[in-house]
Point group: C2
Chain length 196, copies 2
């Protein structure tokens, strides 16, 4: 894939970047942030340690690049034709990685570790900024269809959905009931429409 086509490689990267990212995320899921090492990533990906260090000087930098650039996190924003459909799809793509191993091990490890590693926190912040930028079209289209007021704040709506899922699944350790997605989306959607 050329540098032009592959947006995530705009600042360069080794030829086997995806294998390195996969190894970093797998190791994070298995061993947590403390147990993640460049050495371990080199071993698992079969890429020389010095090659990895040339591109990413620390495990924090590597993990930051992996969060933004990994194929397995490279999800297109939903486009179902309605805002309700898009938000339900979006909440599914947020809640599934929180509940389904091995993705849940990665997500919970990264977001938990962000609270006690200043370096990782910077990359989590970048990851969330990258996500909201990708999700913007969902809201632009909804405004164009007349489904949302023009001054809607997409970040508030996304954070309401994602935050409720995080608390329910990770902190309350409750299952995602069958109707959780539809009830949560309905509440946020009606709230966004009315709070004009």
């Amino acid at each position: 894939m050329s540098e032009e086509r592959h947006g995530t490689r705009r600042s360069g990267g080794p030829r086997k970047a995806q294998e390195i990212f996969d190894a970093a995320l797998d190791l994070l899921a298995e061993k947590g942030y403390e147990g993640l090492t460049i050495e371990g990533v080199a071993q698992r990906s079969g890429v020389n340690k010095t090659t990895i260090y040339r591109w990413w000087p620390s495990k924090g930098a590597l993990l930051g690049a992996a969060l933004i650039g990994a194929r397995q996190l490279d999800l297109a924003p939903p486009d179902t034709g309605s805002l309700r459909g898009d938000l339900e799809a979006l909440l599914h793509t947020i809640a599934t990685p929180l509940t389904t191993p091995p993705a849940s091990d990665i997500a919970v490890a990264v977001l938990g570790a962000a609270t006690h590693s200043t370096e990782l926190a910077v990359h989590v912040k970048d990851f969330f900024a990258d996500r909201i930028a990708r999700e913007e079209p969902v809201f632009t289209r909804a405004v164009a269809r007349g489904e949302l007021p023009a001054d809607t704040d997409p970040m508030l709506l996304v954070d309401l959905l994602a935050g409720a899922a995080w608390i329910r699944v990770v902190l309350r350790q409750l299952p995602l009931e069958k109707d959780f997605v539809s009830r949560t989306v309905r509440t946020v959607l009606e709230g966004a429409r009315a709070a004009d």
Copy 2:
């Protein structure tokens, strides 16, 4: 305070329980979950280590008791006369400990560590169950005043508010803008009313 008056001591506890809880939460804020030890709590609180172990066999058990029983977390649910007022007060009492040291060090350390300590996760789960039980009256009164449908799910509304605050402050590392509380409450409130 007698055992009868002090609900949190229904299962007993040493005379200086509050000093022990304060020490545990302070040490957690300073050193994180890994750095918290019963030894350290004993030193800081001036209570004999064996006394602490007699009541709480591990630091996880002690922290669980501290989260439920600590004076500094013993907040009465708001009763401002309107649901909007109550939810704004509630979101303030949730967001303030996430942003203001030393409470933010405690909150972020506990909630972050919950993702990688199974024992602590159980206590965080109990803490959230205790909180929602305390917050129930806010919603019972709102239903009685006709401000909410009778089948409202208080947990969904609390998790939407608290989750949005958590993502914004801890993961996005954005400030709580002046109007964040009012916009968030308005969206959730209108959503709850409409999603009947």
